[in-house]
Amino acid sequence: MMRAPRATRALHPVAWWLWALALAAAASRTLNPLLLSAIIAVAALVVAARRSQAPWAASFRAFLVLGVAVLGVRLVFEALFGAPIPGTTLFTLPEVTLPEWMAGARLGGAVTVEALLAALYSGLQLVAILACVGAANALANPTRLLKSVPGALYEAGVAVVVALTLVPSALAHLQLIREARRLRGQPSRGITSVARTATAVLAGALERSLTLAAAMDSRGFGRLRPLPARERRITATLTLAGLISLLIGGFALLDASTAPLAAVALLTIGAALALIGLHRSNRRAVRSVYRPDPWRWPETVTVASGVIAAAVYTAAAVALPAEMLPVTNPLAWPALPLAPLLATLIAAAPAWVAPPVSSTSGKSTADPVASLAPNDHLPAKAVAA
């Protein structure tokens, strides 16, 4: 009867995001390649230890690939256009002499180890930040994250999630059409075929969205509690005023001529007003949440481990600038400061603290069994894609 209860729970998706963002913040405080590599390694370790078999869990690799591509582009650009840094010349590219008015810019010329290393360090920082975001993507269940979104923003959140599911279903449909073209003896690849099938895929996606919209509506999606008009107007005014002062505060903060205190004050007031507005509009939403994700000590420990790393890195950036931002000229092997390294290792705590992913529920999420069976309507390759 009570067979198969939720055997294990997943860590709260918000906890994963906070941990990952804190780790990314730590990475943004240093250019030390050893520390950055440690951060990437920690992100990879936690993902390997605690990700499920769900479709989104594969995204970590995609983020890493993106990071490496960014790093490559960064190095190539440095070699081609980088400002000349004197030092050990690695190789010399043919230099294009640029006209007078472009003084300062450079194309080709000597490429020094120092310049490439500097580019490598800053590129590595980007990779580390991307790895953190990728880890959050791989670890946090997007639909459960949606449940933590305030009721007033829920509809917008659903639109995003539904849009995300449209891509895989369109891919599945594309595969069906390819097969159909083969059945009718038509070429299933090539330009003309793509043009012919594109319309069908788009039409299919639209049709499915409409069906889904009808199904959601008839199940009560978007029901609102009737509120007096005066109440609604107050809420709208509060939210609008909050957003406007947030905007002005943001500009003021970036504008050096404004007193920073005024900017911070505007931002605080704006945030407060917007939050009140959001809270009030929540009262209009009827929604409740089935099995909300609990926040227990693993969540707290996870977030704390990330926050500790971020705090230590921020402090170290002030106290140990030479170690945190190593110079490449003259060439030197970067030092490995102990405190940030320890903090990075602490950030690996979720790999043990977070509840383990149950192999069954994880497996069934991407269970190839029926999802790939042809009578499931979606052909195998498309689902895998």
Binding site: M1, E179, G185, A200, A215, R219, G222, Y290, L372, A373
Partner: protein, 535 residues
């Protein structure tokens, strides 16, 4: 409970209204069955109940539809969600979440029910529809029957007082269909739910109905007691046809009722000399082999879809492939047309490996109409679809034969289910392949369209073609197949003449066979052929 008052529904760009002056009242606690030809407006009627038509379909609605006193003009579908639960034709397209349990909770979350209530109702719904074992499974990995039950459970958990179902069993195998219908029956009896359901397979549902709503196709809608409506409805299950032919009074609607009348008929029939095996053409001494499957094994991940299947198909045969949802029927068809390549064993069609064939070589060897015939159609009009076929004139002729009087400028999407199947068939058949594969061809087909399909298949086979039909429709298999193959868990468990196979198992037996057992007759036509003069 549901009240239509002089309702006229007109879709944009439509010449005729889909519903015209409909007045209808379904009292609380009734199970009402909506019958009618394909494309007659059944879905429009169902969608009008909670205002999905015209809100999501466009068009205008005159008159008044009220459910539990709420008018659909002033209440959009979402405001009726606590009163009306709607399960549309293909539940897959209506799933919002990924996992069974979350899907069941989704509607209740929208209604803002408290967590405790939701927990309790989720458990109840899981039990009621027997889904507890799959509660944590992703919806897309479920079988068709489980998906259908999950869709019903997710709607029921909202505790609606009216349940609207569009073809709830058409995609299900006989056993799964019985499960769903039994669950519905229980809901009507135990909870006093009002159910409005459209279904083509009357043989499955007519015995559960308290009322039949007949949608005539010209916008008219009439309703009455099942016995009255069935007495002269153009659509009727075989048991009713048999009852009408034998002039049994009162008209039997179930096998049980019919068996009580059938004693004399059985006696007459069993006194007849034994008839020869049903066959379209007399089998030659050594029938030509059209296709051969030897030890074929297909695996998707850890799931074995076919495990070493051996099958030989001969010229002039119509083979029905039956079995549970997910038993491997579609995989068998797919490997015969080369869409799936077996990991072991081999498939030969006309001596060739279908995986290696392409273009004309493939279409002139084997043709297949997939489960959703719409997948095969991607052009803007019926005319264009025919032009893109291998033989345009033949395709046009076949389509005209199967679905007479369709405007060739119509978009394939605007055709009814039956017309779409006719178009896909015409397109595939025009290539003239000796082997034709049909995957669930009768899904959503009404009896007249089915009859035309059966006629066409018989003529093809008589001309020496081979046809393989994967189907859940036992009446179709009984009607058309010369040979029946039953697949379970990727294995062929039975392979033999249809008459022997289907009468041996109550699950696959058609209604007439059940009524006349132990006399081995499968269809009303069989009885007519044996006894030309009425009793």
């Amino acid at each position: 409970m549901i009240r239509f008052e002089n309702v006229t529904l007109t879709y944009p760009d439509a010449r005729e209204p889909a519903l015209r002056g409909v007045s209808l009242h379904i009292p609380e606690g009734e199970l009402a069955l909506v019958v009618g030809r394909t494309g007659s407006g059944k879905s429009s009627l169902l969608r009008a109940v909670n205002g999905l038509a015209p809100t999501f379909t466009g068009g205008t609605l005159q008159g008044r539809v009220t459910v539990d006193g709420r008018d659909t003009r002033t209440h959009p579908p979402r405001e009726l969600a606590d009163v009306v639960g709607v399960v549309l034709q293909d539940p897959r397209n209506g799933f919002v979440t990924e996992v069974v349990e979350d899907e069941i909770a989704y509607g209740m979350e929208s209604l803002g029910l408290s967590t405790e209530v939701m927990r309790r109702r989720v458990e109840e719904a899981l039990d009621l529809l027997g889904l507890n074992d799959v509660r944590q499974r992703p919806l897309r990995t479920l079988s068709g029957g489980q998906q259908q039950r999950a869709a019903i459970a997710s709607v029921l958990a909202q505790h609606p007082r009216v349940l609207v179902l569009d073809e709830p069993t058409s995609a299900l195998d006989p056993a799964a269909a019985e499960e769903v219908l039994a669950a519905l029956q229980r809901l009507v009896h135990d909870l006093g739910l009002t159910v409005l359901m459209a279904e083509h397979r009357l043989e499955r549902v007519v015995q559960f109905a308290d009322r039949i709503v007949h949608v005539h196709g010209d916008g008219q809608v009439t309703d009455g007691l099942p016995v009255q409506v069935m007495a002269d409805a153009p659509v009727a299950p075989p048991v009713v046809e048999l009852g009408r032919w034998a002039r049994w009074e009162p008209l039997p609607l179930t096998v049980r009722e019919a068996r009580r009348f059938a004693g004399p008929l059985r006696a007459t029939l069993s006194a007849l000399p034994p008839r020869p095996e049903r066959s379209v053409i007399p089998p030659p001494a050594a029938p030509a082999t059209v296709a051969e499957v030897k030890g074929a094994r297909v695996q998707y991940g850890s799931h074995v879809a076919l495990s070493g299947v051996d099958l030989r198909l001969h010229a002039g045969e119509i083979v029905a492939v039956m079995g549970r949802n997910g038993a491997g029927k579609s995989t068998l068809l797919r490997s015969l047309v080369g869409l799936t390549e077996p990991s072991a064993g081999q498939v030969r069609v006309g001596g060739q490996n279908p995986v290696e064939l392409n273009g004309r070589d493939l279409t002139s060897t084997v043709g297949m109409v997939p489960q959703d015939p719409g997948d095969l159609l991607w052009n803007e009009s019926v005319r264009q679809e025919c032009i893109e076929s291998v033989d345009a004139d033949e395709a046009r002729r076949l389509f005209e034969e199967l679905a007479p009087g369709v405007d060739p400028a119509m978009h394939p999407r605007d055709l009814s289910e039956g017309q779409r199947l006719a178009l896909a068939l015409a397109v595939v058949l025009s290539a003239g392949a000796p082997l034709l594969l049909l995957d669930e061809p009768t899904r959503g087909l009404d009896y007249p369209t089915k009859h035309r399909l059966v006629g066409l298949l018989r003529r093809r086979a008589a001309a020496g073609g081979t046809i393989v039909v994967a189907t859940h429709d036992v009446e179709l298999a009984a009607d058309v197949a010369t040979r029946t193959v039953v697949i379970a868990e990727g294995d062929i468990v039975t392979d033999g003449p249809t008459r022997d196979v289907v009468t041996a198992s109550p699950q696959f037996a058609p209604q007439v066979a059940k009524v006349l057992a132990p006399v081995q007759m499968l269809t009303v036509a069989d009885v007519l052929a044996a006894l030309p003069e009425a009793l």
